[in-house]
Subunit: 363 residues, 2 copies
Amino acid sequence: MKGIVLLQMGGGPLGVNIYDIAREAHVGIGTVSRVFNNRRNVSASTREKVLEVGRRLNYQPHASAQRLARQRSNTISAIIPFFTNYFFVEVLQGVQDRVEQLGYDLILYGITRKGQTETYLRRTMQRGRVDGVLFFSMKFPEQFISRFQQLRLPIVLVDTSLPEFDSIAVENRRGAYIATAHLLALGHRRIGMINASLTSEPARLRLEGYRQALDDYGVQYDRNLVRFPKNLKSDGFNREAGHDAMEELLAMGGDRPSAAFAASDIQAFGALQALREHSLHAPKDIALVGFDDIEFAQHVGLSTIHQPMYEIGTLAVDVLAARVENPDVVPRHTTFIPELVVRETCGAGTMSPASRASRSMPV
Amino acid sequence: MKGIVLLQMGGGPLGVNIYDIAREAHVGIGTVSRVFNNRRNVSASTREKVLEVGRRLNYQPHASAQRLARQRSNTISAIIPFFTNYFFVEVLQGVQDRVEQLGYDLILYGITRKGQTETYLRRTMQRGRVDGVLFFSMKFPEQFISRFQQLRLPIVLVDTSLPEFDSIAVENRRGAYIATAHLLALGHRRIGMINASLTSEPARLRLEGYRQALDDYGVQYDRNLVRFPKNLKSDGFNREAGHDAMEELLAMGGDRPSAAFAASDIQAFGALQALREHSLHAPKDIALVGFDDIEFAQHVGLSTIHQPMYEIGTLAVDVLAARVENPDVVPRHTTFIPELVVRETCGAGTMSPASRASRSMPV
DNA sequence: CTGAAAGCGCTAACAC
DNA sequence: GTGTTAGCGCTTTCAG
């Protein structure tokens, strides 16, 4: 009866379920379930009959019920800083596309304020919510390590790492080295670094790469040339920090560097702005190389270190999915090698449109 | 027994459930449920007892089970273009923050390729998945209108609209008018427009505002001054389109405009780049005003029309939540009035840092 | 105030 | 192949 009614009114308040289909198709609910789950032990004729009724009644399986019965949510979450960096936007595209291919849903937990991280971690840990989590670009809170391990909740760290969990990252040290070495090769000897807070892992590694390059070129490290954000409320991966750091560098007067390496593109933009405010230009007055290669880097002709962000996103999902299937293998750590992209601000490019558009130039 | 075991091993494979708590606390499962749902018809003493056991066993309610029993997912989805515009990033922050406050989960469906829209719409329509959906900046496919209505699935349209559903948008016509009038007031008479494809609603409205302003200032409309994207594969809200449009404008030689209004900041960036390639500058050679006021507009000193993106995001969630609670009220359409932000590229600003930082200047 | 019982809609193990 | 029967874990009457 209900089936008929539904048919007439085009979908009742509660929606049509597996029982409606079963009744209408004169089969058991098990069969209906098998059909819609593409199990093959169903005869062609009954399968077609069920499918026909399903179409006619516009049946849709109930997602929550499936998740409960299957003990699997087919959902993953992404905990990702939203306040800065734009890096994440491009990574998210990769995540998004892969997640769609694999049929997962993606719950987004964007961090806009400090402190949200723990809220979201707690939330994502709740049973039945997600099968795994992607954690981006932030220090993973220590007190959660053992909790995730106990719950056996799969997690992969992206752009950050911990021995306990799978991780994916770019070789930050290497990238910074490449950037600095490039400047060195161009003849610069006083090279500043516009860094973020050392509480950030990438910031620390990028500093190391910078120093290593200096070393290899026999240039004495000068701590006055390395600038950190003054405002400790954020990690310093933002435009203001970059702006202020460049101001400081400029304030050194005759001692000021002839080139600078910024720990992120976004800081480089701030630095560029500071330069403009002093009627100075890159690379003429100060050569500049950034890090990330976010989309806007092209807009302003910023030379920078390219990270394969989209690929990082897709790989992150793959690794997570693999762990969901097989929770007991040892943590796997993947790293990408970043590449230098020469545009205008480093002073090495020709000014032709061709070079401006160039997306990568391996070293 | 199970409770004890769980206690000892710190969480069994299946997790502790309401029955474990009930047994351990010597109460019925109904009572346990009431306690964890903060119903007040529970005596203080039993409540405390249940809570204590819950803490001890590290109980967490199972999200899928709750959703199934409550017939409510406490989740909403956001279908949002990811390919362009950066507009969405800032809107998403607002969405994200509000969604957290209201206790919803946010499923993200980012559109990176044409055609994904329908996939995601179908997906988000599945029963039990979400309580409502946010649909952004794209033309809502006609064939889904009646389907959403039949399912009575709440939806709010953002940055686009349809009579049938709630919507939130900025007054595009008004914004374009303001931008153009500003240029006119500065003395410009030949003003170009760098537009996106007219298949986009905002593009159409912005053109209208542009023409209206011209009219009001007694300036003859010249269709040669309005440029559309050549590449019809996208909607044209991107850097390349802006770049090419500016090229075309420049190619007009002596007839070229002395100012231009771009339908989006991102197109304005492309235009700025084209200018640079010709060793021209804004506002000296061509004054320029954009639309959106995405974060990067500050970086390059772009004068533009500010949209309250964060607020649009939070409001969108509020409106959706309201409709989830009360599905039967008539559709509500909200619009925001955009404001002009004077920076450098329009040529009206003083060059002081103060004015550069100015975020809004109502007209 | 509290316990018992009946779902919510689906999956999966088990017979036939 | 296919129907039946238990769950999955929680919410929500309904008695008392």
